[in-house]
């Protein structure tokens, strides 16, 4: 495959070498790397690192490459292209999400939006004990302990992990939709009632 970067000047673009170092770091890293981490590891400017990431994003993108650079979980990481999804599925499972139950997803939503939260708090919101759902999410690495409520003797609290953001393809927790924006249920009910009132008034 031809290596055709968009803006190659005559003298080797000084960011090229940095881009090679950045791609090397990304291919061995076990989690997404932030611009800060990349700048520290490459001993270079954050601005130049961003420029290098721009070059890499151009090169490692869907449709052009099997390796795709993505911005996720507060950093940058490589993943497989969607084109290769079937082949990946034949070779690896995505064990993290396999067989996630409805109870586990509700628990995950509570931890993501309200975390850090304890098991009793989760149980209070869901109305049923959360022990097995919490245990399965911990085992999958989607949530992790985050201290105890009110210090020693309190219940263990949980928060979501960077793996959660990765699995769900979120740039950060801030990318979760606002709860108010979810579900148009109250709006739909209001509209139906208004329609009844109008029909009666006419």
């Amino acid at each position: 495959m031809e290596d055709s970067r968009p803006l190659r000047l005559i003298a080797a673009n000084p960011v090229d070498a940095l881009a090679r170092t950045v791609e090397a770091l990304l291919v061995v890293a076990s989690q997404p790397l932030s611009v800060g981490e990349l700048a520290e590891a490459t001993d270079d400017d954050p601005e130049r690192v961003e420029t290098a990431l721009g070059l890499l994003g151009e090169r490692y993108r869907e449709g052009r490459s099997g390796i795709v650079l993505e911005k996720v979980a507060g950093g940058y990481a490589f993943r497989a292209s969607r084109e290769a999804a079937d082949a990946c599925a034949r070779l690896f499972e995505r064990p993290v999400e396999r067989g996630l139950s409805g109870a586990a997803l509700e628990t995950l939503a509570i931890v993501a939006y309200l975390g850090p939260v304890s098991r009793p708090e989760i149980a209070r919101i869901r109305g049923v004990a959360a022990d097995s759902a919490v245990a399965s999410l911990v085992e999958r690495g989607l949530i992790a302990e985050a201290g105890r409520e009110d210090g020693p003797g309190g219940a263990v609290r949980y928060r979501v992990t960077p793996l959660f953001e990765r699995v769900f393809g979120l740039e950060s927790l801030a990318a979760l939709p606002r709860l108010d924006d979810l579900g148009g249920e109250p709006e739909a009910i209001r509209e139906r009632l208004l329609a009844v009132a109008e029909a009666r008034a006419s």
Partner: protein
């Protein structure tokens, strides 16, 4: 006329069919109360009523009783252990707390549905879990630590959990019969009374139960109800004075 409620056709997310069948499935535990969209049922009933000329009080009464029971069933299902805790609150506070928790639960269900959709969408995104096969390895190093941290951690695990008070009362609605008796007594003294005036001092939960009592009496033919317009004060009288205004007339005058 009662069949107007039971035959009510519902088209909800979790259920499609007559109200009667929904209740049967719930009683047989083939449908979880948590899955039932009560607001959807209420709206369907309101739409059904609006399509008729006459206000069918029997149907309204039966519907209210059934929906109240359904709501209670759903609340109990969602918060099985909370009865005692809510019982420590005043009935109005308990009702508000329950409403708050139902709303929070609904939002979390919506969030879970969003996560599920997201997961389905992201299924084609594969990434490596764990270290790369040829990644360099370096041992993690820990600075010198104080042994008393260990003693403190273990002592922390030996702290007794806060005692949960077991002295709370269960959340109870006052019995309907209490209000049935009370209204009978009022009607023995007076031919007519104003329902709103009679219950104005009561809490919201008690007012609701009082209203159910009123419908019971109406169903038994012991009282007559009249109302000048929708949401106007309800006048309660001995049966001989019954006068039911039609919704249509009321709407025109409004």
């Amino acid at each position: 006329m009662a069949s107007a409620v039971r035959d009510l056709e519902l088209d909800l997310d979790a259920f499609e069919g007559p109200f009667d069948l929904l209740l049967t499935l719930l009683l047989k535990e083939q449908l979880q109360p948590a899955e039932v969209d009560v607001a959807g049922i209420v709206v369907a009933f309101v739409e059904h009523l609006a399509g008729r000329d006459e206000l069918d009080l029997d149907a309204c009464g039966e519907f209210l009783v059934l929906v109240a029971a359904l709501l209670e069933l759903k609340a109990r299902y969602l918060f099985p252990d909370e009865e005692a805790e809510l019982g420590e609150l005043e009935p109005e506070e308990a009702a508000e707390e329950l409403a708050r928790r139902l709303a929070e639960y609904r939002r979390m269900k919506e969030a879970a549905a969003w996560l599920r959709e997201r997961l389905d969408h992201e299924r084609g995104r594969h990434f490596r879990l764990g270290p790369a096969p040829l990644a360099p390895t370096f041992a993690r190093q820990l600075a010198p630590q104080e042994p008393r941290q260990l003693a403190a951690a273990l002592a922390g695990l030996a702290v007794e959990p806060p005692k949960v008070s077991l002295s709370h009362m269960a959340l109870r609605f006052p019995p309907v019969s209490q209000f049935v008796e009370r209204f009978r007594a009022v009607l023995r003294r007076r031919r007519v009374f104003d329902f709103d005036g009679e219950v104005v001092q009561l809490s919201r939960v008690e007012q609701a139960v009082a209203f159910l009592a009123l419908l019971e009496l109406r169903k038994a033919g012991e009282v007559a109800l009249s109302q000048a317009a929708p949401f106007a004060p309800i006048r309660v009288s001995r049966t001989e004075n019954e006068r039911i205004l039609q919704w249509k007339t009321a709407a025109r005058s409004a």
